[in-house]
């Protein structure tokens, strides 16, 4: 059975078609969901894509968190459904408190759009379950607010429970502990700043992103 991946479109999202394309290319079926929907339908996984949801007004993700679909996303996540937030989607997941911490302006105040070398730190997440700890991935980043910030307690909790999913080889944005991606306690909710959908075809220079997305459609 083909896994159906719902990709939520907020006003201002701009990576949704890339995610659908990448999911389709690896044998899944991407389907766009509108942020005002109150049901997710029969999707097997949900992606909150990159972009500038609701113009990023007030703070990145602050308004998107109150989009009607987010209640359904939270319920789906609580039942163990795979939910992945990419870039702006990661920011939305932290604002929605489905993931701890926050994302703040890059150290250096530069908008970064470049390839990033990543290291897989944990395979206890829906994105990395098909990979091995220590695997190196080359996946682009594209953000102004990707500097992951959390309290000492949160950082300890993330470390102790193997919830740091991906780290940067060279920290581009000042993120705490070089964090590029984290997950929730059960590993079904993942947020990451890099864009796997932009590294999912040989023409894009890397197919490492497909390795992550495959985790979404491979089932539990």
């Amino acid at each position: 059975m083909t896994a159906k991946v719902g990709v939520v479109v907020f006003p201002g999202s701009n990576c949704e078609h890339d995610v659908v394309e990448a999911v389709d290319a690896i044998g899944g079926c991407g389907e766009l969901l509108w942020h005002k929907d109150i049901h997710l339908g029969d999707v097997d996984a949900v992606v909150l894509p990159g972009g500038f949801a609701h113009g990023d007004y007030l703070r990145t993700g602050a308004m998107a968190r109150f989009s009607p679909i987010m209640d359904a996303v939270a319920r789906f996540a609580r039942k163990g459904g795979p939910v992945v937030g990419i870039c702006n989607g990661f920011q939305i997941l932290t604002e929605a408190q489905l993931l701890p911490g926050a994302l703040y302006k890059n150290r250096g105040l530069k908008f970064l759009c470049q390839p990033a070398e990543l290291r897989v730190e944990s395979t206890d997440s829906v994105l990395t379950r098909g990979l091995a700890e220590g695997d190196q991935l080359n996946i682009p980043i594209n953000h102004f607010e990707g500097n992951y910030i959390c309290s000492e307690e949160t950082l300890a909790e993330l470390r102790d429970n193997n919830r740091i999913v991906l780290t940067y080889g060279e920290n581009p944005n000042g993120a705490t502990a070089d964090i590029a991606g984290i997950c929730n306690e059960s590993g079904n909710v993942v947020g990451l700043m890099p864009h796997p959908e932009r590294a999912a075809h040989p023409l894009l220079g890397s197919t490492d992103g497909a390795l992550l997305l495959e985790g979404l459609i491979s089932g539990g």
């Binding site: 703070r59 602050a62 604002e95 911490g101 926050a102 302006k105 150290r107 250096g108 910030i149």
Partner: protein, 86 residues
């Protein structure tokens, strides 16, 4: 009877969190001849009116707004000022 209150919310980055904007401004000022400036922090200010029976209730409402939307407690602190509009 409800009254109108003028509300000012100042949202600032929590202490200890590096503020790259503040740092950039702090470095720029000496170049313009303003010496002796330190501790620059950049935040944002929100102004609005609130209808409430009294000041305590108005403040309570604003605190709830801050908690739910206006600020992110992971990285931000708020200072709230509530003044009755005469």
């Amino acid at each position: 009877m409800s009254q109108t209150f003028d509300v000012a919310v100042e949202v600032s980055l929590r202490e200890g969190i590096a503020d790259p904007e503040g740092l950039t401004i702090e470095r720029a000022l000496p170049a313009l001849g303003f010496s002796g400036v330190s501790g620059v922090r950049v935040g944002k200010s929100l102004r609005f009116m609130v209808e409430a029976p009294d000041e305590a209730e108005a403040r309570k409402q604003v605190e709830a707004m801050c908690e739910r939307l206006l600020a992110n407690p992971v990285i931000e602190d708020v200072a709230i000022a509530v003044n009755k509009v005469s």
